[in-house]
Symmetry: C2
Subunit: 399 residues, 2 copies
């Protein structure tokens, strides 16, 4: 009934000890025994099991008395690595970090996601292996891989679900395919969720409630509540782009409804308005350029787009009461004009209690947010109790 | 450095064993030792510690072979109790339940919350003691008290913060005052949060993402995401009532803004519209009565209020992608007309992926939701690892 191997002393209880060491503080076996309420001999076995898989090591103890060898142990973040992969509509970024999140190497490539999953994921594998080689690591050192893609993903399987700008990816087994190259768990999520995790890790590590709104070709948000990414019942939480804004009623959105935020405030919608005003604006980067040149009508149109986004964000605020709203995506590159529009509406529309400590800011991690977030998802998974149990059970089975 | 008392074998590790037993399944000491990866003698000490405080007991084991005494142990839900307190604008309900949530006794009283905190909380204490006596329990059996109040609450301290309909309650130490009567932790939260916990416990125990919208004198929501109550950075998440609805622009809300949902769809707003149509409608109960009599204009006005609530809920849906939306509060008592208005707008406004499995339903726990939810908050707290550690440390200190 009970699997004796899984529950051998080297496995069961060991991940509890490991979670204690995740704070990075070195501890003696006796301290660990006290904290866990188990015998010192049991702790010794568990520490050994974690040393065997390379996750824990003795630390140099300068304060050690009488020249005895060090007897304190700590998490070893540098022996193992993760890959963070950011797949965009037309780019690919891959980062190699250790378990503390420190970046060892990274690389990027211009690549259309519409080339299809095999082509794109083969390039991911190629870049990943190149980074490992440059860092003097092997594929066996990779504990997990995090991947962000520009479309909805079924959380449990890591398969994209009807992603509008990713032809050929619907239902594709992204984890399975990458596991043909690396024997490690693969976590896949949509790009905005991944970016919100990256932005929080990079700029707001202590914040428990954060909304990351990406305003670009599409408009979407990654929502972190109680410190956790919120995915919703079907994995489609954060779909800001198709919330109705009051004065957009006559505009048809690509979703088939009228008055969606995306139809009035996305990069293409703003570029369209500027073309109607006689400007040469094909996409959001042209919009950014016009604003940076000080074109007054471009500034006005961008500020109005900010107000429209603010209208929807003020509803989000009333509902979720976040501490921080981060604005990312190409429209955020227009700088203060866009954010000023957001702030103008948010502060006039929302009850004071929900905004007294609120910060509305431009994305700090910029183009790296996706890659950093994908690495964080991979690290969180790699150090979870379930993963540690699996590693230890594997080591026991081999022994 | 390490508190030896807190980490004595009877305390540390014991709450881990307790969490294993929370599923209610009886287990032998040997099974527990295997599951926890500790020695059988250690498990014996921990089981004894939990028996000493009355949380665990041996169970009759019909399948036991050879007439040996039972050696299986299980959580004992009936030895200890919690109080669940629902304080409304003009009523008070107190329930006594065991640790499984089974109700032992309850009582209610007509009482204005505006009488002030001492008056109301003295009545709570009086009713609580009466229930304990009727159930043959003592105040020492109360492990925790949950309290819902009709206003915003600072989560960490349990103090109401500028509650508009609770004069005299601002900053009042509700937990401290009740602890003058019962030596137990007191959890205070706003009524809608508490009701959402109650509704989930009563009708949707497996659901991880649920919104409970209360539409009455005010309009607010309790939001459960990833299985947890979402309070937000300042504790004011779920403030649906002051989100703007498109066609309410000319209506002044009591918050000072125009076009808030509360100004067009709350009980008083609907009663006002019916008075303008010549009906005798002082409050939402009159509205309910008119609808139940089949008054066609009342039905129309109520259905439109449902549409307005649906407009705001469709934004919530796009953002949070819940599995269930529960409509409660007095306006929900108008039945299908109101909910039909909600559904009409939600299904026309929201992307199909977010609504394919969605259920929009009337509150099932009705008037009891607050009391049930307050009891659940108390039980969750009482059985948390921190509470169990504290109980065990207390028992060790006394011994």
């Amino acid at each position: 009934m009970i699997d004796r191997r899984k529950n051998s002393p080297a496995v069961s209880g060991t991940s509890g000890l490991f979670q204690l060491l995740r704070d990075g503080q070195p501890r003696t076996r006796t301290e660990l025994a006290d904290l866990l309420g188990v015998a010192r001999s049991t702790v010794a076995l568990r520490v050994q099991a974690l040393m065997d898989v390379g996750l824990v090591a003795p630390v140099d103890d300068a304060a050690s008395t009488g020249g005895r060898p060090s007897s304190r142990f700590a998490l070893r973040t540098q022996t193992k690595v993760v890959l963070g992969v950011d797949i965009g509509a037309s780019h690919l970024r891959v980062g190699l970090t250790d378990l503390s999140g420190a970046r060892l190497r990274d690389a990027s490539r211009e690549l259309q996601v519409s080339e299809g999953p095999e082509m794109v994921l083969d390039t991911v594998a190629e870049l990943g292996k190149e980074l490992l080689q440059r860092a003097g690591r092997s594929a066996q050192d990779v504990l997990a891989i995090g991947v962000g893609v520009p479309g909805p993903v079924e959380h449990l399987t890591g398969r994209p679900i009807n992603p509008p700008i990713m032809p050929g990816w619907h239902g594709f087994d992204v984890p399975g395919y990458l596991q043909g190259h690396f024997a490690a768990p693969v976590l896949v999520d949509n790009d905005v969720n991944v970016m919100s995790v990256g932005e929080r890790a990079a700029a707001w590590p202590g914040v428990q409630d954060l909304i990351f709104a990406k305003v670009a070709t599409g408009i979407g948000a990654g929502i972190i509540c109680n410190g956790e990414l919120l995915r919703g019942a079907d994995g489609v939480a954060g779909d800001l782009g198709h919330i109705r804004v009051p004065h957009g009623a006559d505009l048809l959105c690509r979703c088939g409804n009228h008055g969606c935020l995306e139809a009035v405030a996305s990069g293409p919608a703003v570029a369209q308005k500027l073309r109607e005003l006689g400007r040469d604006a094909a996409d959001s980067l042209d919009v950014v350029a016009l604003v940076q040149q000080g074109d007054r009508e471009a500034v006005q149109v961008v500020r109005q787009a900010g107000r429209d986004v603010g209208e929807v964000l003020s509803a989000c605020l009333s509902m979720l009461n976040p501490a921080v709203i981060v604005i990312g995506g190409s429209m955020a590159l227009t700088g203060e004009h866009f954010i000023a529009g957001v702030r103008e509406v948010v502060y006039s529309r929302t009850m004071p209690l929900a905004t007294q400590q609120l910060q509305i800011v431009q994305s700090a991690s910029g183009l790296d947010a996706g890659m950093v977030g994908a690495s964080m998802l991979a690290i969180q998974h790699a150090l979870s109790p379930e993963s540690i149990d699996r590693m230890l059970a594997g080591a026991v089975a081999k022994a």
